[in-house]
């Protein structure tokens, strides 16, 4: 790889330098394409900033790597399994639509209007989430709309570092309110077995089935735990293969991108509260292990709730944050007409994170104002 790139490097470097100096000498071009070029350049080349204050050396770890790790984990966690279960055509086309509309249309236009210096990499993560949390048969325009909403909402609040709630989940909430019919149907049955050219391309032909949680709400039917774990039960495009999600989530924790306290407390509290409610209400509520393995819980716990910006900063408060997510999830699943509550739980706790954070800081430092 290195050898292959060696002759290309000087040409590329020089080319980028030429474009950069061209852009900087032409204010109008800079106005329109400066941020786009900045993002592209940032992917290929390192920054030229040097340190001017102590300490004079810095660690070789930046936000780009941080986000890159999330992207890698998401690709392994849901894109590859989804391609196997639902065929590459649907998955790839949805990803393309999501990225093109989210990043290359909405984010670029926003950067031009708002005169931002660069397009931040957080948008890639949001756009990679959008197809994953929609049903496998969601139309492409819905995916595009979701991506656009997520990016707009993220940018309104000031982009990476200022998010109030998880933008991808907020966009799904918006879609759930606006297009309820599209979000409760379209749960295609995943393909199982050796893929032939046809299934590899399309997956199974349009056989839909209620998600395990909806089926339980309707007639108390419990899907097999193995099918939930491996991903052969129906569900949103990216949430079905829990095994891959758990593996990539653990890798994220090892890379210290996701904080281990949140998945542990989230899954732990779901287990505790579902055991508690099962003991009181018996078979009318979902059993604990079924709750842990169904719906978007694994994806939510490892990827959504751990989004560091929307969680609390204080480490102790992260336990409360995770436990709160788990409690609300179980409450919604067990006692409302909604089959699934992960989205609402995380969004609500994102908002509650702010008071929890300030409370914990006050307790820790005994701040008197």
């Amino acid at each position: 790889m290195k050898k292959f790139l060696k002759p290309v490097e000087p040409i590329l470097d020089k080319g980028l330098d030429t474009v950069e100096s061209f852009i900087h000498t032409h204010p109008k071009v800079n106005f329109l394409f400066g941020s786009l070029f900045g993002a592209f350049d940032g992917l290929l080349r390192s920054s030229k900033e040097t340190t001017h204050t102590q300490p004079f050396i810095r660690n070789n770890y930046d936000v780009k790597r941080f986000m890159g790790a999330v992207l890698v984990a998401l690709v392994v966690g849901w894109v590859l399994p989804a391609i196997y279960f639902y065929g590459w055509q649907g998955v790839v086309s949805k990803l393309l639509v999501s990225f093109v509309i989210g990043i290359f249309v909405v984010d670029v236009i926003w950067a031009i209007i708002a005169r931002e210096n660069h397009i931040s990499e957080g948008g890639f993560v949001s756009c990679l989430f959008i197809p994953a949390i929609l049903p496998p048969q969601a139309p492409l325009w819905l995916v595009g709309l979701g991506a656009a909403l997520a990016i707009i909402f993220r940018n309104i609040l000031g982009g990476v570092g200022n998010n109030l709630v998880n933008p991808a989940l907020f966009s799904r909430l918006f879609l759930t309110i606006c297009f309820p019919a599209l979000l409760v149907t379209g749960y295609q049955t995943p393909f199982v077995g050796m893929p032939d050219p046809h299934t590899f391309r399309y997956g199974l032909d349009a056989i839909t089935h209620a998600t395990p949680l909806t089926a339980f709400k309707a007639n108390g039917e419990i899907a097999s735990y193995l099918s939930l774990l491996l991903g052969t039960a129906s569900g949103s495009l990216g949430e079905t293969c829990r095994l891959a999600l758990i593996a990539s989530g653990l890798w994220l924790i090892k890379m210290r991108v996701a904080n281990w306290r949140i998945p542990v407390s989230y899954l732990g509290s779901v287990l505790v509260f579902s055991v508690f409610f099962s003991l009181i209400f018996g078979k009318t509520v979902a059993p604990p292990l079924f709750q842990l393995l169904s719906g978007g819980l694994i994806m939510g716990a490892f990827f959504m709730a751990t989004d560091p910006i929307t969680a609390t900063y204080n480490q102790t408060a992260k336990w409360i944050f995770g436990a709160g997510c788990g409690f609300i999830t179980v409450l919604i699943r067990d006692f409302t007409t909604l089959p699934e509550g992960v989205m609402y739980a995380i969004l609500l706790m994102n908002l509650l994170a702010i008071p929890i954070q300030s409370l914990m800081v006050k307790i820790r430092y005994r701040v008197q104002e």
């Binding site: 390192s46 030229k48 040097t50 102590q54 300490p55 050396i57 770890y61 930046d62 660069h118 570092g161």
Partner: protein
């Protein structure tokens, strides 16, 4: 996180020795001064010294390695220490902090300590900033010292290996000590060296013919983490200079940095773009005194600098690890210093 409460005695910290392994030439070169060299004079503490900590646990890779002073003869060094104790600090107790990875030194010191009741040996995990006075007194003596406080007023004296040998030569052997080991290292040099420099030599003379010809470099005395940058190379060396680090500046863009991981390491490049705080918790995981540096940043950006001191700001030992680790490349140490300065004005 997981590196938390390991055998270091304190939470957080960072193992710089593993992150930036530096190799030194075994030969020590002598450099003589042009003028009359300054002689070492050990200021005998006026107050009664109860505890003497001998720091043989350098945690920065550019610091003077133990073998230069000990010459692999730990017992001889400890005998020297005994003489110093008998002549100067007869009532004090000695604590020897040694890097636990140097097995032979630890074993020799422990053997020596078996027969001596005035000293105890502490094998320590050499992660930065283990050798900071605040951390060292906390880990070894369990005493709370504030940053910047003079430990001698508490009856604690902290010595490093080089000072011990200088005290021995000047106060006991009555020799004129006018030279000092200075470690020269960094990416801006042809090779890393240890020099025996007569004091008063200008830094320019030391660096002559030693830096790489290509590319610009910057010179830091006492390390790039806690030290100062110097631009005036005619500055003379004195007793406060332990090591000189010369780093490549690298103020240009490097293409495809992900496939060339060594290209920018140990240069003054910030290795990333400036972003807003993403609350990644790296700074409070690494903080050796259990603070939450991001809180200062949030107070600072909201324009509430005065609030920062409510969050235990005084405990900060200014080790610089929060700025070092920050993936958003925020100048956290600078913000902390500004908030502290505000406190002093009041």
């Amino acid at each position: 996180m997981l590196m938390g409460k390991k055998a270091g005695g304190f939470k957080g910290g960072f193992n710089l020795l593993d992150a930036y392994p530096l190799k030194f030439c075994n030969i020590v070169e002598d450099i003589s001064s042009d003028g009359t060299p300054e002689t070492f004079h050990f200021p005998v503490p006026t107050q009664k010294v109860e505890h003497v900590i001998v720091n043989l646990c350098p945690t920065e890779p550019w610091a003077l390695p133990n073998w230069v002073i000990l010459r692999h003869k730990t017992t001889a060094f400890l005998s020297v220490l005994k003489e110093i104790k008998n002549s100067h600090f007869s009532s004090a107790r000695f604590y020897i902090a040694i890097n636990e990875k140097e097995d032979r030194t630890v074993a020799d010191a422990k053997n020596f300590a078996c027969n001596e009741d005035w000293m105890s040996v502490f094998p320590l995990y050499a992660k930065y900033p283990q050798d900071d006075p605040v951390i060292l007194t906390k880990v070894i003596l369990g005493m709370d010292v504030h940053f910047g406080q003079d430990t001698e007023s508490l009856g604690v004296l902290i010595l490093d290996a080089q000072t011990v040998s200088s005290i021995y030569e000047s106060c006991i052997l009555r020799k004129n000590v006018n030279s000092r080991f200075i470690v020269l290292s960094g990416t801006g040099l042809k090779e890393n060296e240890i020099l025996n420099v007569q004091l008063g030599t200008s830094i320019g003379k030391i660096l002559k013919n030693k830096s790489k010809e290509v590319g610009r470099y910057r010179v830091f005395i006492n390390g790039p983490l806690r030290g100062q940058e110097i631009t005036d190379l005619s500055q003379k060396t004195d007793w406060s200079i332990n090591h000189i680090v010369v780093l490549e500046e690298k103020d240009r863009k490097v293409i495809l940095p992900m496939i060339k991981p060594d290209e920018l390491v140990l240069t003054t490049n910030v290795l990333g773009e400036l972003r807003r705080c993403v609350s990644c918790n790296f700074c409070d995981d690494i903080c050796p005194v259990d603070l939450e540096p991001a809180l200062y940043y949030h107070s600072y950006t909201r324009g509430e600098k005065h609030k920062a001191r409510l969050y235990n700001l005084g405990k900060c030992i200014e080790c610089g690890l929060c700025s070092f680790i920050c993936p958003s490349k925020l100048e956290l140490l600078e913000i902390i210093k500004e908030c502290k300065a505000l406190d002093k004005q009041k």
